[in-house]
């Protein structure tokens, strides 16, 4: 277990994006993905909370509203463990690029906000592979809120952090919840060397910066596009 504090020694590259809902991370990840594919790289994509084996349990817990901070944390870690094993590590071993929409930092920020012990959740995820690059999309809360409410008017129970009892009004609860998550994320930037991207900058400006950083990392690892190698 190399863990989160040491670089992995797989030939592939792991790039993750982090940030609150509405920070623009998924948009940037999509752009990064099409660019890398165009450049000829083999790209794998994985997102938080998507393991086939575990998802139905998470859904059941959310639907019945029986998840506590610790079971919320544990079921997401179970999901992550399964994906790491099935969909993240194998492509890294094969020398491919893996893009992850949210990674362990989501758990560190969100679960601690929910009230689990910060040391415990870090120990729990200590088997994770350290990303080659972890982008954190930093946005003022109002910007994130505007983006979210434009596309998604109703908030789900856990999404709004209603289990924390911060407010009876879902929108108000969501605001308070997200504010606290942002505080946690900001602490993680230094702790784990996350690369901060200003999510309120123009989309293309963010993407230019991301591509520059990814290109440097590709050079450093002497990776070559699979498509081009053969030609």
């Amino acid at each position: 277990m190399a863990g989160l504090h040491k670089p992995h020694d797989y030939p592939g590259m792991l790039i993750v994006v982090e940030g609150v809902d509405g920070s623009g991370k998924s948009t940037q990840l999509d752009l990064m993905r099409s660019w890398l594919i165009q450049e000829g790289y083999d790209v794998f994509f994985t997102e938080w909370n998507s393991s086939k084996l575990v998802k139905r349990t998470t859904k059941l817990g959310k639907k019945r509203e029986i998840l506590t901070p610790s079971t919320f944390s544990l079921i997401h870690c179970t999901d992550f463990s399964d994906r790491l094993e099935q969909t993240i590590v194998p492509p890294l071993q094969a020398g491919m690029i893996v893009l992850a929409d949210r990674y362990v930092y989501t758990a560190f920020a969100r679960d601690v906000t929910r009230g689990v012990d910060p040391r415990w959740v870090r120990d729990l995820y200590s088997f994770a592979v350290r990303p080659d690059i972890a982008f954190y999309f930093s946005v003022p809360l109002e910007v994130a809120m505007q983006r979210i409410f434009r596309g998604r008017p109703t908030l789900k129970f856990y999404e709004a952090g209603m289990d924390l009892g911060l407010s009876r009004d879902p929108a108000d609860s969501f605001m308070k919840f997200q504010t606290r998550i942002i505080e946690q994320y900001e602490g993680l930037v230094d702790e784990y060397g996350l690369v901060v991207v200003r999510g309120d900058h123009p989309i293309e400006r963010q993407q230019r910066r991301i591509r520059r950083i990814v290109t440097e990392q590709i050079k450093e690892k002497s990776m070559h596009p699979a498509g081009r190698k053969d030609k």
Binding site: V54, I66, L74, D82, D117, R119, W120, D123
Partner: protein, 247 residues
């Protein structure tokens, strides 16, 4: 009594006050745990205690998902140990702790120690496992049914319980059930005996008749609950009562 946790517990539960007691019965497959738990429950209820029983993979949250995951062979060992942790935490927070707070005795058929043994044998990092299960409550009494491998094998054969998991067939230790059972359970017993010291488990011999083992267990429970031995209780662990209760 304030609740104590194995490691970094759940912050919101650190101040729980427990009126009841958590009593754990540990031991390998086929040793006779379930029979003994049933007898302990009957006895405690006769003494007037409220008793709740629990065992692995019995949570509202994870029972279904975990059972499904185990059925295939897609799921990795670390992932499975985390799924069990989800199951354990759900039962702990929504079943075990509330019962203890209301003064019940909770009898747990297996506990974290089985998970630690199972996954240590399967190559999951033991130090990590202990930290991951740091939320688990330290039992007030954790009894370990100790048994020799030949006695265990005899019990497994008699009960016709040489199944895939009891034999650890996933570990490819042997090409047949019996040999695999011996090799696998020996490894499990080694893990359990290491944990007797580490976690201060109360070792109780599982050799002899069901009644004899039950008497040994009751002695330990009596000491914990500060219950005096009476003639009446002694009479109810005679052989005829326990006969016919299959493991």
């Amino acid at each position: 009594m304030k609740a104590q946790f194995l490691g970094h517990g759940i912050p919101s539960l650190l101040d729980s006050t427990l009126q009841g007691r958590l009593i754990v019965l540990e031991g390998p497959d086929c040793v006779g745990r379930s029979t003994q738990i049933r007898l302990l429950q009957d006895w405690l209820e006769r003494l007037g205690y409220g008793v709740v029983t629990t065992s692995l993979c019995r949570s509202e949250l994870a029972e279904d998902g975990l059972s499904r995951a185990k059925r295939g062979n897609q799921i990795g060992r670390r992932t499975l140990s985390l799924f069990y942790a989800t199951d354990m935490a759900d039962r702990l927070e929504r079943q075990i702790l509330p019962a203890l707070e209301s003064g019940f005795i909770v009898l747990s058929d297996r506990y974290v120690y089985t998970i630690f043994a199972r996954y240590a044998v399967r190559g999951v990092n033991p130090a990590w496992l202990r930290k991951a299960y740091g939320f688990a409550l330290v039992p007030h009494l954790a009894m370990y049914l100790a048994v020799d491998i030949d006695v265990l094998a005899e019990r497994a054969l008699k009960a016709q319980k040489l199944g895939f998991w009891e034999c650890g067939m996933d570990l490819n230790l042997a090409d047949n059930l019996y040999d695999s059972f011996i090799l696998y359970q020996k490894r499990m017993l080694r893990q359990f005996s290491k944990m007797v010291k580490e976690f201060d488990l109360t070792r109780v011999s599982a050799h002899g008749s069901v009644a004899a083992v039950q008497r040994r267990l009751r002695k330990k429970v009596r000491a914990l609950l500060d219950v005096k031995e009476t003639e009446l209780e002694d009479a109810d662990v005679s052989e005829p009562i326990v006969e016919g209760i299959a493991e």
